[in-house]
């Protein structure tokens, strides 16, 4: 409980610092939103009027306070370009990206756990070497290439799944699932290959630990001993990598979103950078930062659940 409070407090402090950094960074970048909207041959008076309506003529500190205060209420402001409220837009997109990232990581875990455990348990046999080699090769494949290959095989040749696009869950759950299969696979298999390496080395370490031998001396058979005693211990290092990967996938889903034309957060980010819609960029970045921070805190708390040695400190 104390750990939970301490970690949450640290998260809040980090989020405040992050919001400040994000704001400051985007404010010093060249590119006045008013100029962007009005084009290069706008008159000075028009510009001043627009700046006034955007509020960008106020001192930066005031602008920051205004923005940050809005964030606390979930108000991300109004886009300079489309004049929509930014909050709901980010919300929609975040949902899509979360599904994609979680689905991708689920694929990764489902692939990496059995593959990694078997690769470790069979490390002296040919089958183990093959598993290692496959995961090694998988690491070298970029996610977008995996995506294109999957689309070619399953969408173009077999015609079994859609090649791109997205349907919200609420609208049609079956179509939603069908649209997510290929993107999640292309994200997940590559991350899964990376994760396999870590699962393998964690299990290998555990395989040679004394307590596994003690468990067998009590009468546990080989595989049950690994399952009951080995895996809970191997989980601790694997969790570290899993947390890092989830953050990477949240931020890095953009590539896969592009390949599969999925309206995710990364897609929104790229689009608003292209449009110089700075307020949207600012909003998306701060959301991603907070998401990564939350993932880290959750990972940390899971550590404490998994390893009693951390709890007593």
């Amino acid at each position: 409980m104390r750990v939970f409070l301490r970690r949450t407090a640290a998260l809040l402090v980090s989020a405040v610092i992050a919001s400040f950094v994000v704001f400051a960074f985007l404010s010093v970048l060249p590119g006045d939103p008013a100029e962007v909207v009005l084009g290069t041959n706008a008159g000075t008076q028009e510009l001043a009027a627009l700046r006034h309506s955007f509020g960008t003529d106020r001192p930066l500190v005031v602008q920051y306070a205004d923005w940050a205060q809005g964030l606390l209420h979930g108000d991300f402001g109004v886009s300079y370009i489309s004049h929509d409220a930014i909050g709901p837009r980010i919300g929609d997109r975040l949902g899509v990206t979360c599904w994609l990232a979680l689905g991708g990581m689920a694929v990764a875990v489902l692939f990496a756990l059995p593959a990694g455990v078997l690769a470790a348990a069979w490390h002296r046999r040919p089958a183990g070497a093959v598993l290692s080699a496959v995961s090694q090769a998988g690491i070298a494949v970029p996610a977008f290439l995996a995506g294109i290959l999957l689309v070619y095989v399953f969408a173009v040749r077999a015609g079994a799944l859609p090649a791109g696009g997205y349907t919200p869950l609420a609208e049609d759950p079956a179509a939603w699932a069908r649209h997510l299969v290929l993107p999640c696979l292309s994200l997940g298999l590559v991350q899964g290959a990376v994760l396999t390496r870590y699962v393998r080395s964690a299990v290998l370490t555990v395989l040679h630990q004394d307590f596994l031998r003690t468990a067998r001396a009590r009468g546990r058979r080989q595989w049950p001993a690994l399952w009951r005693h080995g895996l809970p211990n191997a989980a601790v290092p694997v969790l570290t990598v899993l947390g890092l990967q989830l953050s990477t996938v949240l931020v890095g889903a953009v590539v896969v979103e592009r390949v599969f034309v999925i309206p995710g957060l990364g897609d929104l980010l790229l689009q608003s950078v292209a449009d110089r819609d700075l307020l949207v960029v600012q909003g998306v970045v701060i959301v991603l930062v907070v998401a990564v921070l939350v993932v880290n805190v959750v990972t940390d708390l899971l550590y404490h659940l998994l390893d009693p040695r951390l709890r007593s400190r």
């Binding site: 468990a215 009590r218 809970p232």
Partner: protein, 516 residues
Amino acid sequence: MEAGGTPLVRGVGFTVGRGERVGIIGESGSGKTLTALALLGLLGEGLRAGGSARLAGAPFDLLGAGDRELSTVRGRLAGMVFQEPMTALNPVMRTGAQVAEALRLHGPRSERPGRDAARATAVELLGRLRLPDPARAARAYPHQLSGGQRQRAVLAGALANDPALLICDEPTTALDVTVQKEIVDLITGVSDERGTAVLYISHDLALVASVCHRVLVMHDGRIVESGPVEQVLRQPEHPYTQALLSASDLSVPAPRPPAPAEPRTLLRARGLTRRYARPRRGLLGPRAHFTALEDLDLELRAGARVGVVGESGSGKTTLLRLLSGLDRPTSGTVENAAGDGPRDGAPGSGLQVVFQDPMGSLDPRMRVRDIVAEPLPDRRSPAAADRVAELLADVGLPAEAAGRYPHQFSGGQRQRIAIARALAPRPSVLLADEPVSALDVSVRAQVLDVLSRVTAERDMALCIVTHDLGVVRYLCDEVVVMREGRVVERGPVERVWEAPGHPYTRQLLDAVPVLR
């Protein structure tokens, strides 16, 4: 038994009767642990055992059986206790659950106890092994228990189903002497009471003599001698047994150098105290302190040999760290008349340390010549090379050792390298932290002799920190007995041995197994 075609253990044959305790002695690499592991099918991958081993109650040959068959033997007919209690338990599982596991794995499914019943029995078992507050120990995770408590928990798991055979692989090597005595008493007690046969593996002859009825001496994968303990240890026939016996006998002290006429004081510690801050309880709670060492005075004169003894947590290593300047005292002073070290330049100045683990304290990627020359001011010079050769000869290593790496040496040789390195800058004070604890008995005496000789030749002050009273008696003139950060007794070695003044000293002396 062989690994990839290389035979490791050959023609080993023995029997253990009901209620009988048989010891296997030998040094590391002699094959004693492999023999025990092979019996229960716990050999690592790549190791194969041939031959035959039968256990009463098991209707098959243990050596030919598969994992399924053997799992019905392990933990039910035969239990095993291992060397390293710190790592022998699953760190993320409660201790009681691990003991209970042994109860829930055997017998017909319908008769196996439920989770709660097994836990209750586990608490009972822990209590029978004299764990203080067994219910609490059962709920604890292994890291919350001491080494001795953990070994009791492992033992409880091994004895849970009242096995016919208990295999103990150096079960007390990692423990303090007083704890060792308690564990050994438990094992012999169970064996006497239940008629449990015990196969007891150890490198400690005196210990095996006090535990076992019969003994097997292993060397290079063979049994070279066997028989009743009395006979083998009184009238050893095989030259290897004779050598092992004389090497492990530290009762005749090493030759002492004549004391210098007017020994100058090299190191003087006054009122040494070291406290460590514990983490605060709560944000505003008071800062708690742990006192590792309290108000200690110590003086090291040229030619002196001081032994500091105590169990883990007694503050002896803290003392050594303070004396050597690796740590600063919370209060008190260390006056180092010897000088800070090689930077002073003057010969016969400075202080050097030899550490416990010669594997961990030597950089595995440096050649021996670079390791030994490292403390020298101009280590690339031809003079340094000469000095290295001289030092290696001093500690009894061949000259060609200089070009090799630490992993190419045995434990005893590595400790000699560590001593050579410590001697390189011609220190006047040598501190040694458990210098022979990680070594086999057979090389222990040799390393101690090297320490004794080199310090005598150079009129150095030697201070050894150890939990092994035999080492102190063998090497030292003066002994300081420590407990919980304080000195409980100090004085000339002979006097303390003959007439210990403090009950704790007596308890320590009594716990040491002696060859009679």
